[in-house]
Symmetry: C2
Subunit: 157 residues, 2 copies
């Protein structure tokens, strides 16, 4: 009986240590191991790939992904409760807020859309565009999806 209690105590101890250790490890998401998936057509127009997705545990609120748009592809209109940062990594494309003009974005540009601002982003008409997308989660939510960006809106008409 004494031994059994000692074993249980040992198991509990090592269990806790394992959890504590996991929270203290550096984690590396290897590009070589990331298999992109096609973004869902209910929120995107054209071919868009999502890769290297990550979501941090609390107390962090950060999540992100590498998003690659084929020429002409774009998000639907949407908002983010705590805003969104885009870091353009390749190609060129557009970002536009509701009521604003399309702005051209290029590799190396960093885009900030404040909380609650309705907007879309995507590739140029004849060139793909990739960006890292970074959002913070509030109450489990990081995006509210809206209607499609029409061809007229996409073309700036």
């Amino acid at each position: 009986m004494k031994l059994s209690r000692a074993m249980l105590a040992t198991t509990a101890l090592f269990g806790s240590l394992a959890l504590a250790d996991a929270a203290r490890e550096v984690e590396i998401l290897r590009r070589a191991h990331s298999v992109p998936r096609i973004a869902p057509s209910e929120n995107f127009t054209g071919t868009v790939r999502l890769g290297s997705q990550f979501r941090r545990d609390a107390p962090s609120r950060l999540s992100g992904a590498l998003v690659s748009f084929d020429a002409g592809a774009r998000t639907h209109w949407h908002t983010h409760p705590l805003g969104q940062t885009l870091i353009v990594t390749a190609g060129a494309g557009f970002v536009q807020r509701w009521g604003g003009v399309r702005e051209i974005i290029r590799a190396g540009d960093i885009v900030w859309t404040p909380p609650g601002v309705k907007h879309w982003h995507g590739a140029g008409p004849s060139e793909g565009m990739s960006h890292v997308a970074l959002v913070e989660t509030r109450d489990g939510e990081s995006v509210a999806w809206m209607e499609k960006v029409s061809d007229g809106q996409y073309e700036g008409r």
Copy 2:
């Protein structure tokens, strides 16, 4: 007098609108306009450049920068209160937590260091490395700097 009050009211009104509009604008930090600065030698070893720095307003907590390390350059040991995400954008280098081994990181890899974990990162011995560094601020703080990474530590001895 009536006119003067009306003018004041108008100024107050447009002042508020300007503020409200600023919070609703998409902001683009252009790579072409970013002038990198040399990172301070009290926190870094070797030549390190900081560019495209950004810091979001509350309720967001995100801040970040593009950090470029010449071959052999690295941070000092440090921790982040809410952790840190690195997105390697060019070259190859190392990340190491206190008590762990040096891990090689390459363009496209995404590194997570949990809150409070003492670590360093930097370029390889014969190749530069650039990464986007992302942190969240807690009580105005996003990093606690510690001692230099010695040549022996850097070389994995």
